[in-house]
């Protein structure tokens, strides 16, 4: 019984995180300026990382944890590169 309730709660949390990713995607598509879109992208990858972690809890495999770690690392690099591009007009000086 407790397993069924836990499964329902985890699935509901995944739906909530999916809605959060939808909000971030709305800001990426709509956002009036370029820095709004970069902010939406930042939120999008953080939410995707959390969604992968909930999949890891659900299945009990550590594979999803490694994928979440890779998303965190590469998302940071991407957002810093985009912010520097908005600031300077070039990424590598």
């Amino acid at each position: 019984m407790s397993i069924l309730i836990l499964a329902f709660i985890i699935t509901f949390s995944q739906v909530l995180l999916g809605i959060a990713m939808g909000c971030a995607t709305f800001r990426v598509l709509r956002g009036p300026r370029a820095h709004d879109r970069v902010l939406g992208l930042d939120t999008l990858y953080v939410n995707a990382m959390l969604l992968l972690l909930t999949y890891g809890i659900q299945t009990g495999r550590t594979l999803y944890f490694e994928a979440a770690l890779a998303i965190g690392l590469l998302g940071f690099a991407g957002t810093v590169a985009l912010a520097k591009f908005l600031m300077r007009g070039e990424v590598i000086e």
Partner: protein, 123 residues
């Protein structure tokens, strides 16, 4: 895909509450990203999901895997340390880039420095 790990009741309670809390906080932050009006308001909203939401889901993951493997599994701390270090850096870079772009275009709604704001209040 209804599926859950085979946890005892106390661990299932803690894991469920933490996952639900983290997902709700991340959703609140993302709704703030949609609802708030200016960029300088919006840049604060996603930090909810990046700090408290990530922390809650990582605690749930640590408890879940520690109970499943019946030994302490703490590699999730890597993600916690990394996200805590990188989120302020990225958002400060982004806010400075936005400030630079807005000022170079002469926009009117740009937040001012602390000193300038005090001067305008005094005069």
């Amino acid at each position: 895909m209804i599926q859950a790990p085979d946890l005892p009741l106390w661990a299932a309670l803690i894991v469920g509450m933490m996952v639900l809390l983290g997902a709700t906080i991340a959703l609140i932050g993302s709704i703030g990203l949609v609802q708030l009006k200016s960029f300088y308001d919006r840049v604060h909203a996603p930090t909810l999901g990046a700090t408290l939401g990530t922390g809650a889901i990582l605690i749930a993951s640590i408890i879940c895997f520690s109970v499943l493997r019946s030994r302490p599994v703490v590699h999730e701390i890597l993600i916690a340390v990394f996200v805590t270090l990188t989120t302020p850096v990225t958002l400060m870079l982004l806010a400075r880039a936005a400030l630079y772009r807005d000022r170079s275009e002469g926009a009117t709604h740009v937040p001012t420095d602390g000193g300038e704001a005090d001067d305008s209040l005094a005069s």
